[in-house]
Assembly symmetry: C2
Homo-oligomer: 182 residues x 2
């Protein structure tokens, strides 16, 4: 019984990897607009119904892929002081998220959120966790610290707003002006 579950777990994980890879390869080959469940299924070597059963629809699959790609691979840089840790993190965040790829990942995560708020919530949590790490380091250094929610509202939210609505470029000067409001 346990063996069966483990084997299924292994199969399930392999399907996930195959389907995610198929989405990423096809996105490059046929573009974001050309993606369709039957095409992805064929490339991944699974049936379309496997994808529908597991992800629901194309939007939810793309959100799942996007949130995986947005998952941080490492802790934010430790620059030795709170102000510089925060500036380094925010400048990198704005640069990555305002790129064509970053913006498109954000939109994929949001597009599916009417049906499944999970990916959008995880996307927020990644940002909060990074800020918590920076805050914990500052506490260890006995520096004055910020509240994570305040940094989200004062710095992160305006950057995301302008990236999504495209009304202003969140360049380094703008990010520094936001940080100065903390």
């Amino acid at each position: 019984m346990v063996k069966e579950m483990l084997r299924q777990g292994g199969r399930s994980a392999r399907i996930q990897v195959a389907v995610h890879s198929a989405v990423e390869e096809l996105a490059v080959e046929v573009g974001r607009e050309g993606l369709a469940v039957p095409l992805i299924a064929e490339r991944a070597g699974v049936t379309p119904s496997t994808i529908y059963r597991r992800w629901g629809d194309l939007a939810e699959l793309l959100a799942d892929v996007a949130v995986q790609r947005l998952r941080p691979v490492s802790d934010p840089d430790d620059t030795g002081a709170l102000a510089s840790d925060l500036e380094a993190f925010v400048l990198q965040y704005a640069e990555e998220m305002s790129s064509k790829v970053g913006r498109s990942l954000l939109l994929d995560v949001l597009a599916a959120s009417g049906n499944d708020p999970g990916p959008a919530g995880r996307c927020c949590q990644y940002t909060s966790q990074h800020l918590e790490t920076i805050r914990a380091r500052a506490i260890a250094r006995e520096e004055d610290v910020f509240e994570v929610d305040i940094v989200i509202d004062v710095v992160i939210a305006p950057i995301v707003y302008h990236i999504l609505f495209g009304d202003r470029e969140p360049d380094a000067a703008y990010c520094r002006a936001l940080l100065a409001r903390l």
Copy 2:
């Protein structure tokens, strides 16, 4: 020649009204997920190619409908003072946009923005214009005024961020706390 252009203008406007109405009716009848260009075309009494020619694809059509529905129908209330004008506007904005319909309109506007940033930009402008109106009234009353960009960053952006990512409800108490940061 002028007559011909006018007649075409009239026909074009009629198509727009018919297609927009078809989208709104069908969204109620079959739900947002069931919408498809052939279905919309049939209801509107036009060919699918008319829709593709004019709007590009379903996402761009939905964004066009959404931005029309987000267009303000009147100026913000004049309550006699800047602080109360701003509070009334912000509380109403947060309430409308955090509703199921409001959030779905925001997402429709954003979903198409990879191909056509127009609707997302207009959506921002509606908000800025309302804030400009409130600011102009305050200047006429010789009150101390805010900068519109600052209100967008400090108040509007966090509200929109939390609506989109679903990590916190932008209730009245939260909106008032944001206004207090101005």
